[in-house]
């Protein structure tokens, strides 16, 4: 659960930019994994820029344990880290450790900043564009697409498909505790897309019967192909697969976790700090088993456009070896 420590209890080494990001994460002003990742990386950029190696130390040995770790600790205390943040930090630390102990500070800093920029461009911005484009290709005229809650990739896909001139309808099922679907409905309406909105999971069966496909945004994908997404996504996916409707999930590869495996919704989860009392609490995420998903669209597919979730791991392994060096 997000402990959300106040600023006065933050460790004194925490950089002001990281402090601001942490506060925004703690108050859920930025919620989804990619925004958090981007904000974190940009804050780390500021930290690296303002970092000066103390005398007698070398950046590659001093930076991570003494500076970076306190920032990471503070961010974790504000809100538990998402998988993509964990992946990115692992890659960053691996990069720092690869440097020679004698390399000059400026060289290392420049390299790290470049890596962060490249990372943001490739795995966040570019991935978003590619996924939206690929998913938009799969939308045909006359489709009625069902989605759950609000996810930026899903939104971008719809807007992209609209730009491409497709005419389709969207059915939004919203999470009653976190009404992000309303914002999505507004932005789609402004683009001229017809929207049907349901405030909660009631009437799910009816909504699924109406829909021709289902497009879901997820938070992360586990190593065994199960999806980690906003609480309620699993219900939508199961109902849809039951009926035989195609269910497509959208996810950037940075959100894939190679080490974690989950078969239930309770192992990896987070308690909502606002709906939390002695008698009951609300969980933020749930796990959707891979068998209920027809395919996952990432920025990596080739040819057919969808890959079953289980094969992502293989793709990732091939790709990550290339990033480290």
């Amino acid at each position: 659960m997000a402990k959300r420590i106040p600023m006065s209890q933050a460790h004194k080494d925490v950089h002001p930019a990281v402090l601001a990001v942490g506060q925004q994460m703690a108050t859920f002003a930025i919620k989804d994994s990619i925004s958090r990742l981007q904000a974190t990386l940009q804050a780390f950029r500021k930290v690296i820029e303002s970092y000066e190696t103390p005398k007698g130390n070398s950046l590659s040995r001093h930076f991570v344990p003494h500076v970076l770790n306190s920032q990471i600790e503070y961010l974790t205390e504000c809100r538990p880290m998402c998988f993509s943040m964990g992946n990115a930090i692992r890659l960053l630390k691996a990069k720092v450790n690869n440097f020679d102990i004698d390399s000059s500070e400026d060289e290392v800093k420049e390299c790290l900043l470049e890596m962060i920029d490249l990372f943001i461009n490739e795995r966040i911005k570019l991935a978003e564009i590619v996924i939206a484009r690929n998913a938009a290709k799969q939308i045909n005229d006359g489709d009625i697409i069902l989605t759950y809650g609000r996810h930026r990739l899903v939104e971008k896909t719809f807007l992209r498909a609209r730009e491409n001139g497709k005419s389709f309808e969207v059915s939004i099922i919203d999470d009653p505790y976190d009404r992000g679907g309303q914002e999505l409905a507004k932005s789609l309406r402004e683009a001229g897309i017809r929207v049907f909105y349901s405030p909660n999971l009631g009437g799910l069966r009816h909504n699924v019967e109406r829909a021709t496909n289902v497009l879901l945004g997820v938070e992360a994908v586990f190593a065994n192909g199960n999806l980690h997404a906003a609480a309620g996504t699993a219900d939508v996916a199961i109902a849809a697969t039951n009926r035989g409707t195609k269910v497509v999930a959208l996810c950037e590869t940075i959100n894939f976790d190679r080490d974690r495996v989950s078969v239930d919704s309770l192992t990896y989860n987070e308690i909502d700090p606002e709906q939390n009392s002695a008698e009951s609490f609300r969980l933020l995420f749930d796990t959707t088993r891979g068998q209920y998903i027809t395919g996952v669209i990432t920025e990596f597919e080739s040819g057919t456009g969808n890959s079953p979730a289980q094969s992502i791991l293989a793709l990732l392994r091939k790709q990550e070896d290339h990033t480290i060096n």
Partner: protein, 538 residues
Amino acid sequence: MPHAVTIATPGLQALILCGPGNSFPTFTTNPDENPKALLPIANRPMVWYPLEFCYRAGITDITLVCPPSAAEAIGTALKTNPFLTSLPYPRPDLISPKDLDQNTGTAEILRLPELQSLVVSDFLVLPCDLVCELGADKLLQAWMVQSASLPDILFDGSSSSVRRSGGLGVWYQTKTATPIKGEETDFTATVSLPASSVLPPKGSLFTHLSKVVYTMPTDSLKDLVDENSGLITRQDLLRHHPRVRMLNTHRDAHLYIFPRWIMDLIRDNESLETIGEDVVGWWAKAGWQQGIPAKLKLDKILGHTDDGKDTPNKSASSSPSKSDHATKDTSPENQISSSDIPPMLAYVHPSAPPAQAAAPAPIIRRVDTAQLLLQVSLQLAKLPSLEELGGPDVQGASPYAHTRKVAYPEGVKPRTTITKTDSLVADNVTVQEKTSIKECVIGANCQINEGAKLSQCLLMDGVVVGKNCKLTKCILGKRSEIGEGCVLTDCEVQENMLVERKTEAKEEKFMSSSGLEATEEEFAAEGGSDGDNSDADE
């Protein structure tokens, strides 16, 4: 005991404006030797409170701004006053720009070149007379999350037009249980922030945040209303914000968290004189009034690129002739739209505590008249001391609690009555027998002689109270002396004044007659009444 600040710094710098103010007639007639910033509130110099507020927030880059004439007095106090020297490191800087005099407006101060080059990041502006018990970290959190824009803070030079940060101000209710007559208020109109689907965290200030759309001091408002026999509201305001809340009895605490671009705004607009009225007022209006953003040159300041994506409302033709701003000549494509202006938010401090809180609401007051000084000092004197609570880290210990209520108990002779729960007695005070001290604040080095009865008084440093005096609700300045047998109620005695024995006075101000020659003549002409000016030591 000074130590380094041990919490994270939020990357903001603080400016504390130590001007003389003009509402303290009795005690600031000598603004160079006795600057208002050093007047004691509950035995600590006034400027200690905003400094402590900054340190509690983790802000270490603090600069005091004062006129050059007062620089020496404040500089010496920073080095010698026991409270100021026990503040944590790093010490605040003191700058006294040469063009600053006693009457410079607050925005004009920020326009001076010394300050323009000093402010390099987002910054806080505090007046020297602010007592704010509310945690600064909560205010900073509210600013960081609701008002500041993350892209602005994490600006990496890649995107050209990034949404800039807004500001935050604090307003508090003046109509408390014991209102002060004649306290200044500000007329403020606010609208609530757009509701978000995320619930605000418990204990945060977000539920009390709103956006300012109109603000001016009540005096200016009265002038305006008199002139126009009514309050004129622009149609633009109601078109943008159909539900506006107007606050009549609140006061601006003058505690602002401003983004860096405000310095550019002040620099480019010479007509802005004061921060509270002009800068905040015009900024609030820029959010909804056609033409104001261009008038204030906000498009250049906010770095908006004119790629035509701003589409200003072309409502000038349809509204009646209220919109008289000469902006029709600028080409609409380059004009910044009102909806792109970062918002100026207001935290309206609730005067009644929330139902579940055990302690009363934190105090936020500006102390700029003598009556306020007395009331706030007495209010702070009622805080239990750290000794009684058992240590500074106990839950519920206010940051303003003193270590001990009677700092020097050896100076207090037996057979005296001092009500400890609501009095505060500073160091080195000698209290003779048979005195009664109820609900008073007594400064350092005072002497209270036998038989004196003090009730609800504020004594500054070095005061000598003669035998058998009876003082109620009085404010006695530094090193003043009250002769034997005086009976004073509701009086103010300037520093270094001597009040002759057996004077009886009610609601009088004992000031020195220097510079008041006419009064002396009048006084002589009238044949003199009792209780007014006696010898004046300069």
